[in-house]
């Protein structure tokens, strides 16, 4: 287990990444490669923008103890670039984002 600031990092349960990738390998191959990683229970890959050479995808990875470094390494090996980590859920249970007054307004 990775340590951060002298503490053990808690288990990552969900990871939402904004990724820029080439057309090849296909989205099926990318999703399948991430889905095959250890401790990954499921992957959702959604395409939201297609350019001439690249495409933007949102990758959601869920598992009991998702290894972020391994996910990152897999995406980079497949030619992708992680633009941002849009959502991360870690700890003993999955906590969904709560709506605030600001969101309601």
């Amino acid at each position: 287990m990775t340590t951060v600031i002298g503490r053990e990092m808690s288990q990552i349960r969900r990871l939402v990444l904004d990724v820029l990738k080439p057309h090849e390998p296909t989205n099926v191959e990318v999703a399948s490669a991430i889905g095959d990683l250890q401790d990954v229970d499921g992957v959702n890959l959604s395409l939201y923008e297609v350019d001439q050479q690249t495409e933007n995808v949102k990758i959601t990875v869920e598992g009991t103890n998702v290894n972020y470094d391994l996910v990152l390494q897999t995406i980079e090996n497949l030619g992708g670039v992680v633009h941002s980590v849009d959502e991360i859920i870690a700890g003993k249970k999955i906590v969904e984002e709560d709506e605030t007054l600001h969101d309601r307004g």
């Binding site: 820029l20 990738k21 080439p22 090849e24 050479q53 690249t54 090996n77 497949l78 030619g79 992708g80």
Partner: protein
């Protein structure tokens, strides 16, 4: 082994090259010598040279194109793709195309050469075998292009017949 459209292109290109160029050599050499050994030596030399030039030509051309594509993608991604799956797939494509082009050229060269290798020693048999192979190539071409099979076969056999006629005319001129 499955072939996609890219490899299909090299399969057709290589086969036509190997088949018709070697047939041309056989028809030309058989005018001056009826010896099996001389025809086989000339045809085999041509087959090897064609296979190597086709294979290396494809390797060089595909390397240029694939490298260009890779650089274009790298610019869009703002990163290098060295040692990635993308680069390894690109290298595999180059090797596969070069092997398909060179390999198809060599194998097709053996078709008109077969009667001479087997000791039949007949230019007519070489022509017939080549035309039969062109029919098969035409059908394959029709299959991958999703076009009319008859048209595709007619184009392929027509091209072969035209080349045979030109070579035969040169043979007659030579004999005169």
């Amino acid at each position: 082994m499955s072939f996609n459209i890219e490899e299909g292109r090299y399969l057709i290109l290589g086969s036509i090259d190997g088949l018709l160029a070697t047939l041309g050599i056989i028809l030309g050499v058989s005018v001056v010598s009826a010896s099996n050994l001389i025809v086989v030596s000339a045809g085999f030399g041509g087959a090897i040279a064609l296979a190597l030039t086709n294979g290396m030509g494809s390797y060089l051309a595909e390397s240029t194109i694939e490298h260009g594509k890779l650089v274009k993608t790298e610019r869009s991604l703002l990163r290098k793709l060295n040692n990635t799956y993308v680069e390894s797939q690109s290298k595999k494509r180059i090797a596969k195309d070069a092997l398909t082009h060179g390999g198809a050229s060599f194998l097709a060269s053996l078709v008109p050469l077969a009667p001479w290798i087997l000791g039949v020693g007949s230019a007519f048999v070489s022509v017939v075998l080549s035309l039969i192979t062109l029919v098969a190539l035409g059908m394959y071409s029709g299959y991958i292009s999703r076009q009319n099979y008859i048209m595709s076969v007619a184009k392929m056999v027509g091209l072969g017949t035209l080349i045979i006629i030109i070579v035969e005319l040169l043979r007659i001129v030579h004999l005169v």
